[in-house]
Symmetry: C2
Subunit: 344 residues, 2 copies
Amino acid sequence: MTDTVPAPGRSRSGPSIADVAQLAGVSSQTVSRVSTGADNVRPATRERVLAAMEQLGYSPNHAARALRYGSFGTIGVIAHRLARTGESRTVEAVVEAARAEGYTVSLVDVQSPSSDDVTAAAARLSHQSIDGLVIIRAETATPASLAVPPRMPVVVSDSRFVGHHPAVAADQVTGTHLAVQHLLDLGHRTVHHLAGPADSAPAEIRVDTWREHLVGSARVVPAVVRGDWSARSGYEQGRLLAADPDVTAVFCANDEMAAGLVRALYEQGRRVPDDISVVGFDDIPLTEFLWPPLTTVQQDFHLIGSRLVDLLLRQIRDRETLTDSRIVVPTRLVVRASTAAPRA
Amino acid sequence: MTDTVPAPGRSRSGPSIADVAQLAGVSSQTVSRVSTGADNVRPATRERVLAAMEQLGYSPNHAARALRYGSFGTIGVIAHRLARTGESRTVEAVVEAARAEGYTVSLVDVQSPSSDDVTAAAARLSHQSIDGLVIIRAETATPASLAVPPRMPVVVSDSRFVGHHPAVAADQVTGTHLAVQHLLDLGHRTVHHLAGPADSAPAEIRVDTWREHLVGSARVVPAVVRGDWSARSGYEQGRLLAADPDVTAVFCANDEMAAGLVRALYEQGRRVPDDISVVGFDDIPLTEFLWPPLTTVQQDFHLIGSRLVDLLLRQIRDRETLTDSRIVVPTRLVVRASTAAPRA
DNA sequence: CCGCCGGATGTTGACGTCAACATCGACCGG
DNA sequence: CCGGTCGATGTTGACGTCAACATCCGGCGG
């Protein structure tokens, strides 16, 4: 519970309400009334106060207001690797939606997705400096182990937290089914899978759904190939997959890895989609301009972000308790040129 | 100066220091001592207080501390289009560096890069809820017009603010010279430029430097072609450029546009680099895995982010006044396979 | 002409924390 | 055995704001 505080920033705080009051020749309460927009102030007085504010460059002290109101007008966001496509787009949407509702966003980027790190980040953020918490993709954290302060509204973008915290998640299951079925429909006997890291929940959902779909369709289930979301890892695994003549279709857990994979396949003389079909996941903006344009599963990160804020604000403002609510954001398959019927 | 505050979040604030004090049978000051890590508390007492904290789930009220200390331990970040590569990586680095120094980050994403929007965002953030402000790429904002509260430490990632605010910027000038010279060295008679939007300062710097370099080398200066940073715009402009037989080398203001451009060139039957050489800017992670791997100018966004925090904290902590300080972060040319000598 | 009423403005206290100062008690040296 | 001293703990007030209540004033009805 001990805690350090940055160097006491003494005295950089600007003029206070009292300074304005003195200059305007009114009481501080009148200044307060003007600054909160109360209507029972005589126009002439209001003018005088506004002029004084202007002259002094006054702006209300947020800390004092927060103390008084018990609310910061701020929501905390915990993300893992912020610069990654899905994360940054989700965060962008959260920031936008939050602003539209009059809230600012405090951001923490945890180094590792472990429960401990997330919990520590939550604690750091929480000390009442935020009104609620958005946790974006709490990878390995298992539902029970995620400790957030009591009474802190939380929303998680991870469907596994259903029953523990309200959640918003893309419909990865349907997206994966669509991708695999698309490849089977084209005539491929089975589909290989280039997965994300095993400590990622979305990666695991995609693996499980892919396997399930193949089993349900009575197809051979090839060994899972693992990448780490990066294009480089896709490239490396692609070099290996290229050597396997049985591979005719690969479903990749994200577009970056798919791009690396495609590149490796070409270098090994395997054409896409002539020799091997490739499907990605996410539909990042570049996907359409890769060669060949990538067939992929589109996720609406923007919608996820705004739904997260919706759900969080319902808890914050309306005191709703939503532990088991869950919003699923649809995904869809975007067919481009990286998939085709197998050769023979 | 009037201002609204989100619904008075009454009573969600947890137990206070007084509750802990009562439970532990000590005064609130002793609790305060324990929570700030003062050493003059008897171990047995400390234990009792910690136990009470644990039992009540106490955590210090950040608003009260902020009020007391006059500091929030928070820095504000204003970014324009957060999901864009450079922005998200810079923000990630800022968040990371800030955390290492014990600060959290409050994020605002402005819709338009206009001065007004940035100024409004600064005002929103500033109400003393932050100790300093990082403005990432204040596109059209001209130096004089950027109004931030008096005494608010500010740092800008835009070299044009030198003399107004401390700035950290990538060395775009050198990067551009390197790119253009590389193409000239390969034997191209001149270099076309696919620029970013005219309201972007970095885009304009690249345009100016490109033009200057061509003039200095006594080359023909082709008309500038404009995109909007997106791959799609690169694709669209690429279709036009492909029709011009004089085009043998294109310097693109970012990698996304370069990717779209390359795709369009291929579709029109122009090979890269055989028929046309292409250079990008940024070195985003996918660049290396495009086909062909893109020659590009690398910017170290991570370094920019941490330098921004350095510079800001020097102002916040040490009360330094740094209006005219400027840090230039080097860029370098990464030569891959998208550039070659012209055909004839 | 007096008292009442309502709108404008002022005064007080509380939000939670912590620094400064006050107090209390035990132990030590003379 | 007593005064002194120092470490542990308690008390007070202030940070800036705003709600609740108090006050003051002019105008209007009786």
